[in-house]
């Protein structure tokens, strides 16, 4: 019996084999290191070499950073304290902190106003960036530019109020007429807004109190990282809609619109941004009467916006071209009109494709705002190169200042980049 049983294929398990922990060579950090760092001899050599390089870099920079001084009042004092030791002199950041952030002319007792605007910005951006939030919050986003303008520039409240009323009037006229004819709605809206603004100009002059509730601050007093943020945010949020309009215009079947868009895009792309900025700062004033001039900040915003809009238009055109023709036909065959099919079908898909390109340009634009330092606006880089490095106290502190500027810009740009990656994942519905 037992004899036959040994050769039988039949088998019944009567005891469970308990689960055992894996040997250290099959799991855990040892395995990870063996797989990733020391898999082969050349691999191990490269690992060792890489660690050595990392060690060299850190051994030079870490003591410099960690031993940095934060409380001295000038570079010479730093040098005295350090006595030949190599370490950072971060005191320039603490001592000139407000100048780096707000510029050197913004009244110190009013710093709370741009700070408040900065905090409001997050609330205003939230519903735009995270569309799961209630749509009603977009009202805050709509009001934010006017509130931020009033906070930062101060002066009479009637200017932003009439600006807002103009937009609202334009919108209502647009909504009233767009159903009959897109062009009628579009231009009707513009005319309505212009009329309100024109009347508002007189009304503001009549209504403005002698001493406004918020003290007025002229544009030339703005500066520091605040100026970079203001330029970056304004120009990005203006250039995306303008870029969309240009991209659609370039596709238009109406030759006049198409050629205007093509010439505009090709011209702007063929000109360096710095040229446009010089035009904004110097040459545009020749076109205005001597007593009237458009604010330098507005001129710079216009130029940067036009510049990046041309690039964004081309990125979006790429997204539009990537859509199959069938999407346009399906939208048409359901009876959607042009505005509806663009808004509901074409643009959501084209913009999704264009996200990486648009973000690329937005990040580039944000960094390009430092170029305004060459037309003597004191943005963060302008502050460093001008008032701070030129002062006798801090002449010669380069690494700390530019390193700090780089860090601030990196934080913002990396944030934008991470957001865009989250957005792409969130919008991925094609299940490839």
């Amino acid at each position: 019996m037992s004899d036959t049983h040994e050769h039988s294929v039949a088998f019944v398990r009567t005891t469970e084999i308990p689960q055992q922990t894996a040997p250290s060579s099959a799991a855990g950090p040892v395995k990870w290191m063996r797989d990733n760092l020391f898999a082969t001899w050349p691999n191990a050599l490269l690992t060792v070499a890489a660690f050595y390089v990392i060690y060299l870099v850190l051994s030079a920079t870490l003591p410099w950073i960690l031993g940095g001084l934060w409380t001295t009042s000038s570079l010479s004092e730093c040098r005295e304290v350090l006595q030949g030791r190599s370490a950072a002199c971060f005191s320039v950041l603490t001592e000139r902190w407000n100048q780096l952030l707000f510029g050197f002319k913004y009244p110190a007792e009013l710093y709370w106003r741009p700070t408040l605007a900065f905090l409001l910005m997050f609330i205003a951006l939230a519903p735009v960036l995270f569309f799961d939030l209630p749509r009603k919050l977009l009202i805050i986003t709509g009001l934010f530019p006017f509130a931020a303008y009033w906070l930062i520039w101060g002066g009479t409240v009637w200017i932003p109020v009439f600006a807002l009323v103009g937009f609202v009037a334009g919108y209502f006229v647009y909504a009233r007429f767009v159903a009959q004819n897109f062009a009628a709605g579009f231009f009707g809206g513009i005319v309505a807004a212009a009329v309100v603004w024109y009347i508002g100009g007189f009304a503001v002059a009549a209504l403005a109190p002698a001493t406004p509730f918020l003290e007025a601050v002229p544009s030339r007093d703005l500066g520091g990282f605040m100026l970079n943020m203001m330029l970056g945010l304004t120009c990005v949020s203006l250039s995306i809609p303008l870029g969309i309009a240009l991209a659609l215009g370039r596709q238009s079947s109406m030759p006049l619109i198409k050629w205007i868009c093509v010439i505009f895009i090709e011209f702007i792309r063929g000109v360096p941004l710095i040229t446009l900025l010089f035009v904004a700062s110097v040459m545009l004033s020749y076109f205005f009467p001597p007593d009237q001039t458009v604010d330098l900040f507005v001129r710079v915003v216009i130029m940067i916006t036009l510049f990046s809009a041309a690039y964004i238009a081309e990125v979006i055109r790429g997204g539009l071209a990537a859509l199959p023709k069938g999407q346009y036909e399906a939208a048409d065959s359901l009876g959607l009109d042009y505005a509806q099919s663009m808004r509901l079908i074409i643009l959501p898909q084209a913009l999704k494709i264009s996200i990486p390109g648009i973000v690329n340009i937005a990040v580039g634009l944000f960094k390009d705002t430092t170029l305004v330092s060459v037309i003597s606006m004191f943005d963060m880089v302008g502050m460093i190169r001008g008032p701070i490095l030129a002062s006798t106290d801090w002449n010669g502190v380069y690494w700390e200042l530019f390193g700090f500027a780089a860090l601030l810009f990196f934080v913002v740009c990396y944030g934008i980049s991470q957001y865009s990656q989250w957005l792409e994942r969130r919008l991925a519905t094609d299940h490839r």
Binding site: Q327, G335, T429, H431
Partner: protein
């Protein structure tokens, strides 16, 4: 039952095409097309590739522009007036070879989009209508998925439901089964047959000759931009008159 359905053809004219011509540049794609479709009629259009059959039905809802002659749909003359075009398009449903569902919207949103924005139907009502038609094409359980998650046959049935949600009086099908695997062709054809039995006016470009035999009142054969032959399906398949029709039929039925 197909026979019973054929009786529903009325005298009312749904589409009237007269002396219609179309050129792509200098290439004459459609030549002197004359076609009258009565309400409730089901017409199958076949022909070799490049014969202009897709172009013909795409002219009916103005996806393609014709240069000469007239097209009248439901009494509305197709002209360059955008209002007329939008009116006709909302009355005429269309299904494409590649489905052309909107990939960024769920199945339900695909179906409710046009009723909400074109017909101004309240969202809730539009969703009820959409679910009704999704049940009709037998995929109500997929309503919250995205088109990319569905099989080809399911996508095409959604596309049919999407068109039906606009309550069209005429349905155009542009090779609805050409991009599908054989086993999925059946589920789409079944849906179309059901639609035909309810008396929908249909124009269908297809090579599914079984479908043509079963539901068509009329089969039209096109070649080189012209209507070469049209007849009732029995006569068309059993006794084709034109040599070109005979050649075409022998090629597609031969294997």
């Amino acid at each position: 039952m197909a026979e019973a359905a054929k009786l529903q053809v009325s005298d009312e004219i749904a589409i009237s095409i007269q002396k219609m011509n179309k050129w792509y540049g200098t290439f004459h794609v459609l030549r002197d097309i004359d076609l009258t479709v009565h309400r409730g009629e089901r017409i199958v259009i076949c022909g070799p590739s490049g014969s202009g059959k897709s172009t013909l039905i795409r002219c009916i809802n103005a996806l393609e522009e014709h240069q000469k002659g007239s097209i009248e749909v439901d009494g509305t003359l197709l002209s360059s007036d955008l209002k007329n075009i939008d009116k006709i398009r909302s009355e005429v449903g269309m299904c494409f070879q590649h489905f052309n569902l909107f990939p960024h919207l769920t199945i339900l949103e695909n179906c409710t989009l046009a009723p909400i924005w074109v017909r101004k139907t309240p969202k809730k009502e539009a969703e009820e209508i959409a679910m009704h038609f999704l049940e009709k094409v037998k995929i109500p359980d997929q309503a919250d998925k995205y088109p990319g998650q569905l099989s080809g046959g399911q996508q095409q049935r959604v596309a049919i439901a999407r068109s039906l949600c606009m309550r069209p009086r005429i349905m155009l099908f542009d090779e609805p089964t050409s991009a599908l695997d054989p086993e999925m062709i059946k589920e789409v054809l079944d849906t179309m047959i059901e639609l035909a039995e309810e008396g929908m006016t249909m124009l269908c470009v297809t090579h599914e000759m079984g479908f043509a035999r079963q539901v068509a009142n009329r089969v039209i054969f096109m070649d080189q931009g012209q209507i070469v032959e049209q007849n009732e399906p029995e006569a068309f398949f059993n006794n084709p008159q034109s040599p070109r029709t005979q050649l075409f039929l022998s090629q597609i039925l031969g294997h």
